[in-house]
Amino acid sequence: MWSILSLLVENKPGILFKVTHLFRSRNFNIDSISVGITDNPDFSRMTITTYGDEKQVAQIVKQLDKMIDTIEVKQLDEHKTLFRELSIFKIKLSNANDSMEVNKIANAYGGQIHNVKKDSIMVELTATPEQTSAFEELVKPFGIVDVARTGVAALQRSES
């Protein structure tokens, strides 16, 4: 089971270490992790995607909650959550048509084109991890030089 966890943590040095250490020492998995500041300078927001069965994820949430530096731990419902990942692809261009083809695919995914060179092109994408992976599949045949993915940022949608 793929799960998104949203953590509000103390904005102090060493917290990222403690959180990741907990995952390691308790034998849990981190799929992706993103950390950023919040409107309150005392706290930061961590978004962690993890996988495990229901029991494991429940245990991860409890162990994270037990940490004194975590203010709030939420397991987000995928269907009630807005989650996005920023990724940057550097794609190989082998012939004149490639540039146009990549452009088309990027457009379909709402991607932005950067740094167009004779033999490579960069695409910036903000999408769900699923969409990003689909995009990756589509551009693979051109040859991917490099990819950087941020991991997701997520927030629960308002109910009404």
Partner: protein, 565 residues
Amino acid sequence: MNKMETMIGAKALMTAMEKEGVKQVFGLPGGANLPMYDEFARCDIRHILARHEQSASHMADGFGRVSRKPGVCFATSGPGATNILTGIATAQADSSPMIAVTGQVPVAMIGKDAFQESDIIGMANPVVKYAFQPRTASEVPMAVRKGFYIAETGRPGPVLIDIPKDVQQNEAEMVFPEEFQISGYHPWTDPDMVAVEKAIEMLLHAEKPVILAGGGAIISSAFAELQSIAETLMLPVVTTFKGKGAFPENHPLCLGPIGMHGHAEANRIMTEADCVLAIGTRFSDRSVGTFEDFEKRLKIIHMDVDPAEIGKNQTAQLAVVGDVRVNLRIMVKLLLQKAIKKTDESPWIKHVRETRSYWKENLKLHPGEMGAAKILRKLRELLPKESIVTTEVGQHQMWASLFYDVIQPGTFFSSTGLGTMGWGFPAAIGAKVARPDVPVVDIAGDGSFAMTENSLATAVLEDIPVIVFVLNNSTLGMVAQWQRTFYDRRMIGVDQQSCPDYVKLAESYGAQGLRAQSMDELDKAIKTALSSDVATVIDIPIDPEEDVLPFVAPGTSLADMILPS
């Protein structure tokens, strides 16, 4: 508004500790904690010198478990800090309140691989409840205040305060806070009346209910509540090893500890039960055997102060989160209100009684005069019931579990979670500091005692007369037992060859050394030790081939006990 005072960080540390009621510190000085040590000259806190930082931490641990207030230990940076780590991990595994204060290289030197620098904050992270590293002197009082609060509330545990040397030396305007807030820490929960009511229903409807008392029952001193509930509902009581003595072991409803070396009657009744009221236990593998087999056919009511324990090792049908004593009190009250009181003998309780008396009479014991059971029963017979017992780790520890009955609840302590050899003796010293009015005995083995035997210097020089009761089989006995059982008697690395001579060793430290080679000698030795005011080592040679039985092999279920043949 609190009054401000100007002082250096080291003085602020001592002042803040005095405000927490600290009367003594167990420790060892070194380069990076000298400013703190200098303050002992100017305050009322007693310093008790250990001969190894690990021992200092076990002393603090023993003090903490007995007094239920955090014991404090000091160590210098680098190797001092890494030496203390074993003691911190031991305290964490057994939920013992402790404050470990380490010196650190000056702030500007951190990360430069300075002399005696170790990243103790990073190393200790997985084995502390929390850690502080004040970077300016003015942060020291708050670190101490919060540290003590965190260590002793909720599920207790060790807190590390790592103080760079310049932070100890620098002057600052100090505020000693009364009030403070920790946003992510809420150790107190309201009693869960609804869940407790459900728990009563489940216990009343069960055919074969049992109470399993864990270490949490001892930590929260829920002795009276536990006994009242057991007697009111006529519930047999088994314990985990950590919970040993949460309930008087001479009580007719008590079956003793379950587990790998649990009492045969306890393991039998536990495997037959259909509903368990589990109080303050994490269902460790050593207690329950294979997780899947344990929870099969068993309805579990799990009471624990730590919500993360619910569902970790066992699936609970009902969870009661919160201080177990508080919730048990609610249960006692509800039982009174509802006028529930079982008096008649159910078939289950009749069966429990039969099982109990069968195994009390029929468990085969070592035939020799100096068998472990006879030795420990003699100790029990001669020790006043309020005496405190600690143990080392190994065969003697499990024999103590099997044959030393705890009569007064909360008088038995052991390194049960981490299983730290060398724990018992320094912990006994800490326990004696907490309770100088009662005899304190470390039930030891020769292998385990060897690890911290130099604490004899502390016991003698600091005038802390504890008794070390060494069941000496000249062997690392538990390992030897596994080699006999699982490795076809290939005995590797276990022979200690009666080295050292513990009587001479004790004497060389100025302690009393006694040897007991017969029951008569043992009787005399125990009486001599109890009536003398100096630390005493009683060396008791025993058969190196004696096994601890019953034995539930690792990775098997409690139903598969190996019994003495």
